[in-house]
């Protein structure tokens, strides 16, 4: 099925190994009572950027936490379905081991260590995969090359840096773990459009130059669809749509229906009120 489109790999990869992450018919609850997901499926192939779209409360964050096996820490449970990362069942691998295997999350709301400096934040990311000292130094240089703004702020307490810098710190911290699949939850949240643009551009650059696979949940579908290869749309905890990002971008009706694009709904309101006047 998906194998043919993934292209021919020179080293004779088997078909299955192109699939880095697969989520099948996932259902999840919080406190064994509140149903957050009921039937979510998505896949991420190697070297792909996949956007997970949906309105507030659609279940994007829950899916991402389930993927990183962090749901239990917020009293959530997976009740049905399966998640596989690189052939292993995610639910049987601790979040710490997932990081070491290359699945690294960037949490919603950045979650920097506010009382640590920017550089210490980055180093904690390296400790998270048991990196050696020499590796840490070179990885730091790499992060500072990607986010030059961080280098100037490296000695500042992360809590005192701007929202954009905190997002870069959080992404940099995740990159220090040398991920193969980066799982980002709303990187655009509360940031100026220019900052969002530069962050997505850096991610795309990593994707193209190093083959980093990315799963990114976004409310800002316009930006996400511009940088993603494919997208999956959630509504009320289930998958309602999936396809190539290009295709989804051209279907304005989908945007208005599921993603609540402000310009679209405004256009609708004005057209309907025009009609009423006429």
């Amino acid at each position: 099925m998906a194998c043919s489109s993934a292209g021919i790999k020179p080293h004779g990869y088997k078909c299955m190994s192109d699939l880095l992450l697969s989520v099948e018919a996932l259902a999840a609850t919080y406190n064994h009572a509140i149903r957050a997901l009921s039937g979510v499926s998505l896949t991420v192939r190697r070297g792909e950027i996949v956007a997970l779209l949906g309105a507030n409360g659609a279940g994007k964050s829950t899916v991402l936490k389930a993927v990183s096996n962090l749901l239990y820490a917020q009293r959530g449970q997976i009740t049905e379905g399966q998640i596989h990362f690189d052939g292993g069942a995610v639910t049987t691998i601790s979040s710490a081991d997932l990081v070491r295997r290359g699945l690294v999350p960037v949490l919603e709301g950045r979650h920097c260590f506010h009382s640590l400096t920017v550089e210490e934040n980055l180093i904690v990311g390296a400790i998270g995969r048991d990196a050696r000292r020499s590796e840490i130094a070179s990885d730091l240089d790499r992060i500072y090359a990607l986010f030059p703004g961080l280098k100037q702020r490296r000695k500042s307490l992360s809590g005192f840096t701007s929202g954009g810098e905190q997002q870069m710190t959080a992404i940099g911290r995740a990159l220090m773990s040398r991920p193969r699949l980066l799982v980002l939850d709303e990187p655009s949240m509360g940031l100026a459009p220019l900052v969002v643009e530069s962050i997505f551009r850096t991610l795309k650059q990593l994707n193209v130059s190093e083959g980093l696979s990315i799963l990114v949940a976004e409310q800002n579908s316009t930006v996400a669809l511009r940088f993603a290869d494919r997208a999956t749309v959630l509504e009320n905890g289930r998958t309602v749509l999936g396809g190539s990002a290009l295709e989804l971008r051209q279907r304005a009706d989908i945007k208005a229906l599921y993603l609540g694009s402000p310009s679209e709904s405004a256009a609708r309101v004005s057209s309907s009120s025009n009609r009423a006047v006429a």
Binding site: S95, V99, L116, S177
Partner: protein, 296 residues
């Protein structure tokens, strides 16, 4: 006429005894900061450490060996507590964890007495308690020694947290536990390290307090002395525990001497609690308690 010489003597005596309170409070702060658990068993751990040490001494084990053995026992105890009591309770509400440590304190106290008996032991560290004269102010040699040991311990911890990987991981976990989990830190390991550190603090506090009061059951009640220190300094600040301890020590002694006579004396035992209560009304997070580092 106000007797400054006497005032300073009382103040210095208070500050030095406050160092002893700080020692107890630091054990609390270490664990509270990283796991959000108010470890009521810290006092029982102090008793256990002191009792183990003194019993080994009495059985003819040489001093350094007894100290090492006690440290080892406390490290094992700390790791066991993390593994068998706290880890199964991860993600439970704070009150559940608090109750667990309350129960734990009785288990540890019971175990200590079962192992070593319930009689009172004297503990001589070989430091005399005779006061000596510094510019007309009498200072206890033992108090000075205790302060030096506590100071060295704090400096050691400060270096550890600043310059080691485990220390950095500790600070990360203390700052944001969920983020620490997400970046791949192994929280149980950090917690085990913290309980180990708390065990070491308990040994130091146990020996100093034991030498001062005698090693006995009531040693575990010094946790109650640590509470006003924590209220004053903040539950999550090591600096707060130190300053809070010094303040409480000074307040107790000064209150006893200068305010005591109006109440017929004996207010040293509760003056600290009154101050803590007043403090709670004005600054609930304590002097150094976490004010979130946040841009506004």
């Amino acid at each position: 006429m106000f007797d400054y010489q006497f005032f300073i003597e009382v103040l210095v005596g208070g500050l030095l005894s406050g160092v002893m309170y700080s020692l107890v409070a630091i054990g609390f702060v270490l664990i509270y900061k990283t796991s959000g658990v108010l470890n009521f068993a810290q006092g029982a751990m102090i008793l256990f450490a002191a009792l183990t040490f003194v019993s080994l001494l009495e059985r003819g084990v040489p001093f350094p060996l007894a100290l090492l053995a006690t440290l080892a026992v406390m490290v094992v105890l700390g790791i066991a507590v993390e593994r068998f009591v706290l880890r199964p309770l991860v993600n439970q509400p704070p009150i559940t964890l608090f109750m667990a440590t309350l129960g734990l304190s009785y288990v540890i106290e019971g175990a200590a007495q079962l192992l070593w008996g319930a009689q009172v032991h004297g503990l001589d560290l070989g430091i005399s308690d005779t006061p000596f004269d510094v510019a007309g102010v009498l200072i206890s040699q033992f108090d000075l020694f205790a302060a030096a040991v506590a100071g060295a311990l704090v400096a050691l911890f400060a270096l550890f947290f600043r310059y080691t990987r485990t220390g950095l991981a500790f600070r990360a976990v203390a700052d944001d536990q969920f983020a620490a989990l997400a970046v791949g830190l192994r929280l149980p390991r950090v917690w085990a390290a913290v309980w180990t550190a708390a065990g070491i603090v308990a040994v130091v506090a146990g020996l100093l307090w034991g030498a001062r009061l005698g090693v006995q059951f009531s040693l575990s009640l010094i946790v109650l002395k640590a509470l006003p220190v924590l209220v004053l300094g903040g539950f999550d600040s090591i600096a707060g525990a130190i300053v809070g301890g010094l303040l409480i020590g000074a307040i107790e002694k000064l209150a006893e001497v200068y305010v005591g006579p109006f109440f017929g004396g004996g207010i040293e035992a509760w003056a600290a609690y009154v101050v803590a209560l007043g403090f709670l009304l004005v600054r609930p997070s304590g002097l150094f308690g976490q004010k979130l580092v946040e841009r506004v």
